[in-house]
Symmetry: C2
Subunit: 413 residues, 2 copies
């Protein structure tokens, strides 16, 4: 396979960015089909493809036609969350390897369908969680693999991203966020923080998530934002009168089979700077992304002052010192071009991994069991919140295979 013929389905902000910034720049990729339910997006994408020197792609507003067109080796999905599983399942049934952008699921059954379809068809499926390829996350994971943190007992992470404008202007932008934030209250986007934690803790590979409890604060951020901006932005009555169910801060505590806990925080409708707050806690030390800090028992001072609360200052950005020994080579050797390709390079690494696995017929680094377990957290979080934080059992989508599936990182660490 000299060139992998890719279909891009879903051409909103994310899909068109990946198309233009990454896929069209890969010498061994040809975009042979584009699809979106909005025709103008399809035309724009086709134009960009032709401008990049490739042949006019197959164009459609119906993903079934992409699957049937006979011109694609693999499909990559960037649609609204509610279409991810349906398209991926159809693609696997047609024997076409498929990559799914991250998102939220709405039922456990959808998660199961993904797993069952993959098991029945054997068609490769990759879950495109770019943060699993993140620089900080891989540095911390490498340090953990080399024993620097001792036995890890806890991880935490945040999706801290002020999306108020994107949600409030969702209808104009033809984006699915508006309807999701209005209608649901859950950890609606768990995988940016959960993915890297799950890989580090060998979830589905020697460990598994067994239960969770999820609690949501009241929803005040979006209403206040729309009130604040209504003189500057032309909102429709639907937006002005909207009541949002999505709590501003949603926190989910996950317990793992081997006794570790994970804290996930969804934080997208209050003013803040972007953060992922990836944190790893072990018996010998910790990594803390929020301050880029490492603390190792015996190496760093045992006793810190109780009278000041500025102890972090001594450790600020000292994680950088560990890059020399522990940062994986993809990040050590990153080119300036790749750095510009989205989220500092991790979008490229994720797509490169998918293309390589398709070309070489090797296993996907993030698979259907990861997708099912991680996205199930949205569904169970919604149920838990509705019941005031009740405990929800997380299904074992591997059907016991987690006990013998070997641990494996997305790159060598």
């Amino acid at each position: 396979m000299e060139k992998v013929r890719i279909a891009v389905i879903g051409l909103g902000a994310r899909g068109s960015q990946i198309l233009k910034d990454i896929l069209l720049k890969m010498a061994d990729v040809q975009i042979t089909a584009v699809c979106d339910s909005y025709e103008d997006r399809v035309d724009d994408a086709a134009k960009a493809i032709v401008e990049a020197g490739q042949d006019e792609p197959f164009k459609t507003t119906d993903y079934r036609e992409v699957i049937a067109c006979g011109k694609v080796d693999a499909i990559s999905i960037y649609t609204a969350w509610d279409m991810h599983a349906e398209i991926a399942i159809a693609s696997m049934r047609a024997g076409i390897p498929v990559a799914s952008e991250v998102g939220s699921e709405y039922s456990l059954n959808n998660c199961w369908q993904l797993v069952r379809t993959h098991e029945e068809t054997g068609t490769p499926y990759m879950f495109m969680e770019n943060c699993c390829f993140g620089k900080d996350e891989l540095l911390a994971t490498a340090m953990m693999r080399h024993g620097l943190f001792g036995e890890v007992v806890h991880c935490s992470g945040v999706y801290g991203h002020d999306l108020r404008k994107e949600v409030a202007e969702g209808i104009q932008q033809r984006h699915y966020r508006f309807r999701n934030y209005r209608a649901r209250n859950c950890e609606n986007y768990p995988t940016h923080e959960l993915g890297p934690m799950a890989m580090l803790l060998n979830i589905n590979r020697g460990n598994r998530m067994v239960s969770l409890t999820s609690v949501a604060s009241k929803a005040a951020g979006l209403k206040a934002y729309i009130e604040e901006t209504k003189d500057k932005v032309e909102y429709s009555d639907e937006v002005l009168n909207a009541t949002f169910k999505q709590g501003d801060i949603v926190q989910t505590l996950v317990t793992c089979e081997n006794g570790e806990t994970m804290l996930l925080t969804l934080d997208t409708t209050l003013p803040r700077y972007y953060t992922r707050g990836f944190t790893v806690r072990g018996t010998k030390g910790f990594y803390q992304q929020e301050t880029n800090s490492v603390f190792i028992d015996g190496v760093h001072p045992e006793e810190c002052e109780l009278d000041t609360y500025r102890n972090y200052e001594k450790f600020l950005n000292n994680a950088t010192e560990y890059e020399k020994d522990y940062l994986p080579s993809i990040w050590k050797d990153i080119s300036p071009e790749v750095k510009e390709m989205g989220h500092g390079g991790m979008d490229y690494f994720t797509h490169r991994a998918f293309i390589e696995a398709v070309k070489n017929g090797t296993p996907m680094p993030l698979d259907v069991y990861d997708a099912a377990a991680w996205m199930a957290v949205s569904v169970l979080s919604e149920q838990s919140i509705r019941e005031g934080g009740s405990v929800q059992q997380i299904p074992d989508f591997t059907n016991g295979k987690w006990m013998f599936r070997p641990a494996k990182d997305v790159v060598e660490l």
Copy 2:
């Protein structure tokens, strides 16, 4: 009342420090009785009192004798957690105003007994949560009261204090931590973070905590620490063979009547620097103690880079800029002497508030309802963890009076 005659009950590390560093330095305080179950501690305290130029105090190993001795205007308790309520209740029944050091409760009934005894006797009771007088906590609370954060929807805090040495050497040190960490698994010390959050959110004063869920990681930190240090420290077999039930990281999510949520983290048996991680999140901005940061919508950049995870650097320590306008006067005008009196001065402020209220017959700034509600979190956390994180309803110890009790800060903000 020229001099307030105080009895100090409990003369371990904390009690003797408060006695020597604070109470003996107050011109309007006389220590007229000292009590501890260990006689040598009583003798040491009496010696320090005489050396400070005061009369030899009444000495006993039985707190009942303190209450009966007729020489005290108020009692201050620093014993093991399990004796706090019993002594406070006996003191209130005798009509002696009482201050209780913070800690953990073991039954809801004890919390209720505190409340009922106070209501029946009318004897003043103060809960000595020093962090409610903390500099950072009061700065953030003042900013919140002045509307800088908009509507607050979420707070979080941490008791992040590496106590491995203290727990492991607890038997030698005649300290109650060892037995508590061995026998229980719960949020065993909630009030350092919960107190300031509860004050800010007007808990028991227009708002109340309604439910919680609590999850604990496995307990690996103490075992690893003892293994690591056993060649340097002479541990008894009881310590070497101990199995600790207390999870290393315990996280508790509290939901409030008015829709806010609070996250409490107990983090005392893994290597780390001291932190309280006090965080306030509102519709217009946030305060974050971990990086001493303030972020205000419209003032600070709306869009931060997604490609780097170092956005915190722009806001590091900028909270200091707000001190001029919002730091309460006790902290602005703090003397060098007070700063040295423990935890940067807040121990002094807490004790000063108690003495003033006793002298003037004014209401205690942190009262029996605060104590009951906050310490109930330990009990309910223990139940929740035992049930995998089940939802626990938090009693309304005010019996509906939270609806009309006016909001009140510990100092003017």
